[in-house]
Subunit: 297 residues, 2 copies
């Protein structure tokens, strides 16, 4: 009986935790990632944190959720915008040198969160779960029968790049008119600034909406409209048993959930209008480490 480690490797912080069988956090360490100091620095910190947590216990499995793009099959972090300067980092191999388990898995952070929600959160009653995070970016993960469906090259769930309007807004290195360019927190903040010089990012925009500001409302309406189209497209492609939707933007509550539920219906085949199941994510910020540990179980 050894322990299971979950690692949530983000651009700002890295969190390492022992996760219990029932999906709760037993013990957790957090440090700054400092990606600019290079992958060796961060990986050494991760190894030390695992050793600190494990003490004398056997490490049975280690799962890492990290920003994409990455290759889950080879355990390689490719060149994620959120870990600048990291390129072709063989993270799984590096960890295998230090720990005597073969069960070390890497997948992207949205897939890890999807797994956590499917196992212990809002998706736990369902066979097929599509998790969507609307946060700094827009990402997703598909879980079928308790397993992440990563796809041929690990790009399943990269819905931020879904084209919804080829004549639309160009955002970051994504496709023109892609979902993330309309619905992400960053995009909402950027558009509010560009169109109306509203400062303070998505949070300030939602604050203004709650005060009845019409300009802020227009930007949020547009974001929700595109998110609704994206969900309709996913329904007519995968038709999962449930959509679990999390991320910072969804914390705006009724301001976003009420219109979202209405707008999705507009774009569905009549037979689906009252059947598509949208649920808020249930797990707190710990879903990253919990889901990561599930990758290796």
């Amino acid at each position: 009986m050894g322990i299971h480690i979950g690692i949530d490797l983000g651009g700002t912080n890295v969190r390492v935790a022992i996760i219990n069988k029932n999906g709760t956090v037993n013990e957790l360490l957090q440090e700054q990632t400092e990606p600019e100091k290079g992958p060796v620095h961060t990986i050494n910190n991760i190894i030390r944190m695992i050793e600190t947590l494990a003490e004398d216990e056997k490490v049975e499995g280690i799962g890492v959720g990290a920003p994409g793009p990455l290759d889950p099959y080879r355990g390689v972090i490719l060149n994620p915008p959120n870990l600048p300067g990291w390129e072709e980092v063989y993270l799984v191999d590096a960890l295998k040198k230090y720990f005597s388990t073969d069960n070390i898995q890497l997948n992207n952070d949205a897939n890890a969160a999807a797994l956590a929600e499917a196992q212990f959160g809002s998706g736990k009653e369902y066979n097929s779960v599509f998790y969507i995070t609307v946060s700094t970016g827009v990402g997703g993960g598909l879980v079928i029968g308790g397993k992440v469906f990563s796809g041929a090259q690990g790009y399943s769930g990269e819905i931020g790049n879904m084209i919804l309007n080829p004549g639309g807004y160009q955002y970051s290195n994504l496709n023109k008119g892609a979902l993330e360019g309309y619905a992400s927190g960053t995009a909402i903040g950027q558009r509010a600034y560009q169109l109306y010089e509203i400062e303070g990012g998505a949070e300030a925009v939602f604050e203004l909406v709650s005060e009845g500001d019409q300009r802020a409302q227009r930007i949020v309406d547009e974001a929700i409209e595109y998110l609704a189209m994206g969900i309709a497209n996913l329904t007519h492609t995968i038709n999962p048993d449930v959509f679990v939707i999390g991320g910072g933007v969804m914390k705006a509550g009724d301001l976003i959930w009420v219109p979202l539920r209405e707008k999705v219906k507009k774009y569905l085949y009549p037979g689906l209008v009252d059947k598509v199941n949208l649920q808020p994510a249930a797990l707190s910020g710990d879903s990253g480490v919990i889901g990561a540990s599930l990758l290796a179980q």
Copy 2:
């Protein structure tokens, strides 16, 4: 050792066949569907055709591929545009009254064809296969590990309704700017007529393209552009091991395949550009009955 029956129920013809274990057609009967005479008429014809084929042998499984929308879980044909007047037809229950097997399955025709291609066609080497048919309409089917993934309400693969341009072309009862409104054979023919009074449907349009007609070329370019965006969206959502693409429009050969392969690359994440696997469908018109029989195996 009994026999397996595959039924391809279309708006024009219904084909009933005994399918061998290796996926070949043993014996086949075809009649007109005559949907206007009502479902009882057609179902009685189907029962008679099965009995004629089976003679004294035991029927072990019956699979039916039919136009959507339908409910694969209850075995009910809902209200398909291609079978006008049919509404809530309990096809599986009707067949169960006549045949002593519990193994009678209904799914939509694109899912049946997907299964045939995954098992015996261009997808046979792969775990996850997304089949696309570009024909009168645009449809699709997802097969993972040899099984059709139908989705919660059976709407998985209904990619004809994928929104690609919310300010775009309104076609049939689909979403504005949906894939089928640009890329289907019907849409190509309609747009050629509306814009340039070109008659003769998609076939005539491709004939003109091969003669160097610039107007026809523009319409085909647009159709391929949207098909490419649709495939990119599916890649960033599911990232299947292979796309198998069939249907009448794809018979235009290099006129469509060469530009399609180029255009898809434009819309992919750089890491995927040379990796997305597009293959022409391998099976002939028999994929309907073959795939249908696989539904019940």
